[in-house]
Assembly symmetry: C2
């Protein structure tokens, strides 16, 4: 028996074929395991943290040195580097697994050892009792087992650089003491030491975790391996055994004669990897005897994935995959069915069908959904406010406030631009503040940044253009649209309309949001090109001939007589009377360009129609803001600085870019076009008041007719809200959401504070007027480009340019032929082109209705494509988005108007528009 | 026996433990293999291409459909996607390997089957003879085996979309014909079909390859698996069996009763993976019997890498690693030693020590190295010229020519800038052309782009500044330096000085090249800032007050009287006499700025000292060129377009950026500073001739004294050449080299043509003068930044900013503690700072000697760091660079002056400077 165990477990090297011959006959492992795991499936076993220590000789002193640890993946101590490696997948040798199996067969197995502060001694005594080791080795083994444990967190006490290369872990017994227990006291204590408590790694370990300790060492007094696997009846803190204050449940000890360090280490890694395996750890907790454990190893072996030695270098560390097979997937019942074809099994899978959450069900009663939502939310209302009194709230308020005003400024500026300042920054601020506060008080998910989104901005623009071209008073029309839309939203809420969502697919959503993106991009570029027209550059300018450039204002009588001469003269007299000027006093050369034109003077000179520097400066501001925002957003994925700081930089990318280029603009001191914002608390445009009269300027029937555009707004809000959900949720797969730390998620006070602050920010006007418009156009461009990048449609367009071998491994490419994918994309492109053309005609105003057109086209696609292909290309919503979507719905019904979630800046709440109009 | 094979090989599912019990006792596999592989190791076995076909029913017709293929890695047919997956590492199940082992134990093994066009029939007959299958199945099995093979390249003939989901590969025998051979003829022919010949995939398969075909199918007439492994005596083309015209050597057939498709497929994948394994394919070629094959499987099993099932999802396709373990590493002799600790074995490795090639040996004779080089090269001289007459040469000439003039323009422009046009673009062209042609005629490695490099440019700049500040005639000094340097290079060549290289380490090289990079970057930025000073922007400009801006030239008598009045007046009279002007004729307001100043006029006005647009436009050109070059260079790593096109774009990045921004500049038509280049064939500067007189302007002793700066040049060239080698070679790890396709290229004609063309390009002057200087500064900045990114020193600086867990897995980080790495980097930073400060003082001229100082510092580091740490941080040269370096040396000794290899643009050959001075 002794000889056998010597030869097999960590003994002289034997090839695998040895094992085939020596392995005993067993009943099928799966059956055995199904029995023990089936016994009581109700109590989940704790997570296991494994630490592997190897016996080392440090300065003549024997000690156990931590060499690797496992939470789920392996982290190794870089011997030379004196630091932890990154977590990686444990690559084992098949050999070590077989050797481990033999070790478990021949070593001593102690299950449910009763509470004892030094189980190491118990183990040795047990082996002597069993006759596995001669009694005279007892003292020596106990001495070795009770040596101090040094963890990677601690620096060695005395260690010369020269030693490092040749440190050996074979023990010579010069410092042997006759009393085995003479050891440092920190290892006996059953309360955690300060070192253990200070270890920050504890954060990575689940709270319910228990430790399994693997001890591997070479000693010169053994001629065969000493192997022991111990499960303690109760998880116990065994002094400084583990680097973190986690109680130990399992102990695996392998001591052997010297010469086989590598082999022992590999066996240690094998058992450590097994201990963190979901199935094996279950087995280890519930095993009744040795055979159960071995059955666990066999099941593990049956499931392992094998890489061919010629195709993979074991030195490469494999990073943990994004998704690991879940324990349920690997559940014993399925194991046998899967094992035969795990790697080839992907063909069977289909994208998970879209399921509707409880909140999206059609109740059939008026206001039924709303009533259910209120019932769900009421019990939490008080704590929603109390929870806000917390120190963390201050930083949350600051963070969200900055995000909020950045949005309000950007969209306010653009909105002012689109509506000739009928709705400008000031209105944007006020609307956000009012609607936001109300939302935080009554909304379903209060911690949300409310702000404008692209579609509404574009609708406002189209509406303003429409009313200007048709001589309709914009403000009055807008008021009625707001009132109608508000009413329609209420109707939607009371009719449980959200259930319609299920008819909306990726195709529709992507068409819509691509269109929005393209409008963003094209508008930003148009504005920029406009700057070059507005500030023409004098191309032929020769610095040396500066003396030849001038622009003079010449009095009308001095200029050449024109047809307008008398008219101009008349105007001049008119002005003179009006402003009590004296004609003879007028020094024409002192007039500015505008004054000159006003008084009928002539601008003569070759520099009159040019404006230096401004166009180029605008371009630099525009492109600089865009590029900086892109770079800062990407910074989240760089390797520099701690994750938190990177996230912060990325979250504040837009704010920081705006700040930087406002700074640059101020530094250059050029007269670039600035954001127009009133310096006092009054509407942006001086000829409108806060209150809008509902009647008077437009024919009476507009009050009724505005029902139609209001319906468009309502559709838009409805669509917008859905698409926001999709984009945000899809984003989440790549980017993480921005405000997660304050999400716990979820009280009302912070939000109210944010929006009160936003309201007070209308007094920021003196600061805001320093923001150049090109900077905002840059942000505009960024938002268009950024929202494109989250869309699968866009990914598929890119495929046209990629040779097949360079295409990313999208799941739909595994299942749908390339030509069908391209065809589907082409249909989308054509739809988009049609939408784009429609948008440029008078039909632009019915823009939101086009979306319904997209839904019709999508329905026709059922005739062109098989359901199999559509399932992959047009999956309604990713499965993981479902939960998020439910949350959205919840909100929606609570509140009168839909409140899209927001960490992207393209968010809005139309109720602010409604408020503005009412105010 | 029949029953046994049924139960084991592809039979009902059995757990692994079954195999343990059933495996027969064997002699150790390794011993057996050592015997057969040791027999004749002299003949290397061919590379194996494996194709796996599965039996499918397509439109009522049975056929073999290709489902995967292996060159080295697996490519799978994406069933739904109807295309090839990317090559990936085959992830197998341990189970399938054990099942395969059983299949090989129980199936029929036919080794060295004699040449026969239809071995399938032979196989069936053999099994009947052996009594493995009943004779009545013969016809049926042969019928199935001889069905047509459809490869992924071909589209199915009739296939509806609905079928796709449910195609079954179980055979029903409705279309059974009594004559088994009634099959399409294309499968019998032993010459390759056109389909096979047209298959472009053939390019990926080595020329000596032989095929192994794996055929897997389910049939309903068998009640136990039919397994056969065949090795043909001669590799034979078996009709359309294989997708490419590669002769078949091995056949593995597995037919079995239905219900176990997945299991069969996995067995097929297992044998296919084994067949492309270096060791197993050797075994397969040399196996004498069944036991040898099984021993091969056992050895494979002994070496496999195992991934734990809970940590890795088998659906993830693992991309082929950059480096796979070589067959030698895995050689049988070492197998046993490694198997125990493959994954833990990296601690033992040390960076490969630097070895010197044969060409770098110190011969001890005068000109010994040169003589050896000539002896090596002479035999190839004639073919070097004849080989050039090839159609491919035309594109090569064009490609290299463009690279060549881009460099000449950039560096010529910058050199002209640095030396007040004493050496400008014209000289650069001429020098490159002359030196290049001579080099191509006599050089050791003629296909090289000769051009200037940074260090020489900086030296020229420092030298020019020195001579200007010390009233020394630059041209004369430069001539003597050239002559001295030429002589010194000859001395180096004759004294076999290259062997000194071994004293130069990464530390020295990196310090030097970082310094160069920083000088590039700082100079580019300085120039750019200069533009803002040279073209001041009128910050306070208000477009509306354009009428108030003017600049007028006022006659001196009209201006206020100054102290210079009489002097100016005197000057004016002088000019008037000189140019026969009439004072009364002078219209002061018509004078340009320069004329006005010249004639003593006064510039009066608020726009006189401003220049509009030019500064901002310069910045846009500068930054645009830089960014575009960076983006285009990176384009090589994008997923778009075929690799070749991407490489082309990346290679021509600088050329394309220059062209684009020259175009933009022309479009804007602004008077930005342009490259000064003479419009006729004459020196750039009008006050120098082509010939430089050696005496006359400087004191005689300068002829001797210039020996010292010449020595600096020589050191610089020597250093430069070494560093070029290192940078180029290190680059090669990431980027691939630019001109590889014509490299085999290696003949003299192309080069001569290129340089003749370059010489003729001096007549390009009318075009070159359109290039704005800011564009060249942009390229300058790019070059500085790009050369930094290849330096390990720079990577280590970045580590300061990275939290440990985000640091890349550099090998030195695995072996050297972080604090030592940081300390080493800090020393380098301090050295660099000292060099930078020195550079700014009068010591700048001895710049090249500083490098020697770096070598001294490096020597002192031996006292601070252990040799172990230094070996990792300061490895002299990566092992793989060795060969390349030898090539360099070869060149060097052939030619009088060192010729650095070039695909980076920062290259040069100083001999052109020498030539210029001589001419």
């Amino acid at each position: 028996m002794h000889l056998q165990s010597h030869q097999r477990c960590g003994g002289p090297h034997t090839s695998l074929t040895h094992f085939f011959t020596l392995l005993p006959s067993l009943s099928p492992a799966a059956e055995r395991l199904r029995h023990i795991l089936g016994e009581d499936d109700s109590t989940p076993t704790p997570t296991i943290f494994t630490e592997m220590d190897t016996l080392q000789q440090e300065g003549g002193e024997l000690e156990w040195k931590e060499s690797a640890r496992w939470v789920k993946f392996e982290e190794k101590v870089e011997e030379g580097g004196e630091r932890w490696s990154k977590p990686h997948v444990s690559t084992l040798t098949l050999h070590s697994l077989f050797e481990l199996r033999t070790c478990l067969q021949t070593g001593s197995i102690l299950l449910d050892l009763e509470g004892y502060s030094l189980p190491q001694i118990e183990i040795v005594e047990q082996q002597i009792t069993d006759g596995l080791i001669p009694p005279d080795l007892k003292e020596k083994i106990i001495f070795v087992l009770l040596r101090k444990h040094r963890h990677q967190t601690k620096k060695p006490i005395h260690r010369s650089l020269a030693d490092m290369g040749k440190s050996s872990n074979t023990v010579s017994f010069a410092p042997f003491t006759d009393h085995a227990q003479s050891r440092s006291m920190n290892d006996i204590s059953d309360t955690p030491s300060t070192d253990q408590l200070k270890n920050k790694f504890m954060k990575k370990i689940p709270r319910d975790a228990e430790a399994s300790n693997v001890l591997i060492g070479e000693v010169d007094f053994l001629d065969k391996p000493f192997v022991s696997f111990v499960r303690l009846a109760q998880a116990t803190t065994l002094g400084g055994l583990t680097e973190v204050p986690v109680p130990t449940r399992f102990l695996f000890i392998l001591l052997g004669p010297h010469g086989k360090t590598k082999s022992y280490n590999e066996i240690g890694r094998a058992i450590a990897t097994l201990m963190v395996d979901d199935l094996f750890s279950d087995v280890a907790y519930k095993a009744r005897d040795r055979e159960d454990l071995i059955a666990g190893v066999d099941e593990f072996l049956d499931e392992v994935i094998v890489l061919p030695p010629g195709e993979w270098d074991p030195k490469i560390r494999i990073e943990p995959p994004k998704k690991v097979p879940s324990a349920e997937m690997r559940h014993l019942g399925q194991v046998n069915g899967l094992a035969g074809g795990a790697a080839g099994g992907e063909d069977e899978e289909l994208p998970a069908p879209h399921e509707l959450g409880e909140e999206l069900k059609f109740t059939g009663r008026i206001g039924g959904g709303l009533w259910l939502d209120i019932k769900r939310k009421i019990p939490w209302y008080c704590s929603d406010i109390y929870d806000g009194f917390h120190i963390q709230s201050i930083s949350a308020v600051l963070f969200i406030y900055l995000g909020c005003i950045t949005n309000a400024i950007t969209f306010g500026g653009l909105l002012g631009d689109a509506t000739d300042n009928y709705q400008g920054v000031m209105e944007s601020f006020l609307g956000t503040a009012l609607a936001g506060s109300v939302f935080c008080l009554f909304g379903g998910q209060p911690l949300i940044i409310l702000s404008s989104t692209g579609p509404i901005l574009i609708f406002e623009k189209l509406l303003y253009e429409f009313s200007k071209n048709n001589d309709v008073d914009y403000m009055e029309l807008r008021l009625w649209i707001g009132l109608h839309s508000c009413l329609q939203c209420f109707l939607l809420v009371f009719s449980d309309a959200s259930y319609i969502i299920k008819y909306m697919t990726r195709f529709t959503e992507e068409g819509f949001s691509s269109l929005i993106s393209f409008i963003f991009i094209s508008d930003a570029i148009k504005k920029m090109v406009g700057a070059f027209k507005y500030y023409p550059i004098n191309r032929g300018f020769k610095p040396d001939y500066i003396t030849a450039y001038k622009c003079e204002c010449i009095a009308p009588d001095q200029g050449e007589s024109s047809n307008y001469f008398f008219f101009n003269y008349f105007m001049l007299i008119f002005y003179l009377i009006l402003f009590s000027f004296n004609l003879t006093d007028l020094d024409w050369s002192q007039l500015s360009k505008k004054e000159c034109v006003k008084y009928g003077g002539m601008l003569v000179g070759n520099s009159c129609k040019y404006v230096p520097d401004l166009a180029l400066m605008s371009f630099i501001l525009f492109f600089g803001t865009y590029s900086m925002t892109v770079s800062l957003k990407k910074f989240k994925f760089s390797r520099y600085f701690p994750t938190k700081l990177r996230k912060l930089i990325s979250d504040f990318a837009i704010f920081m870019s705006i700040m930087s280029f406002v700074g640059l603009d101020m530094l250059m001191g050029l007269d670039t076009p600035k954001l127009i914002v009133p310096t006092e608390f009054k509407p942006t445009r001086s000829d409108r008041g806060w209150l809008v009269m509902p009647f008077g300027k437009n024919p009476w029937w507009w009050c009724v007719a505005s029902f139609v555009p209001a319906l468009l707004v309502t559709i838009l809000i409805f669509m917008d809200q859905q698409i926001s959900a999709v984009i945000v949720n899809r984003k989440e797969n790549k980017l993480k959401r921005s405000v997660p730390c304050w999400r716990k998620e979820e009280q009302r006070l912070t939000g109210i504070l944010v929006f009160v602050l936003t309201g007070l920010s209308v007094f920021l006007a003196p600061i805001l007027q320093y923001i150049p418009m090109p900077v905002l156009y840059g942000v505009f461009l960024y938002m268009g480009v950024a929202s494109l990048s989250g869309i699968q449609f866009w990914e598929r367009i890119k495929l046209y340019l990629m040779p097949p071998k360079h295409q990313p491994d999208f799941s739909f490419l595994r299942h749908v032929p390339m030509r069908r994918v391209h065809l589907f994309t082409l249909v989308q492109i054509v739809c988009l082109a049609v939408l784009w053309i429609l948008k440029s005609t008078f039909l632009a105003i019915i823009f939101p209705v086009m979306i319904l057109g997209l839904m019709v086209v999508r329905k026709l696609l059922d005739l062109m494509f098989s359901q199999h292909d559509l399932a992959w290309l047009d999956d309604i919503l990713p499965d993981k988005d479902k939960k998020k979507k439910e949350d959205e719905k919840k909100k929606k019904k609570d509140k009168k108007a839909p409140e899209p979630e927001s960490d992207e800046e393209v968010r809005k709440c139309t109720i602010c528009q409604v408020w503005i109009c009412l105010s």
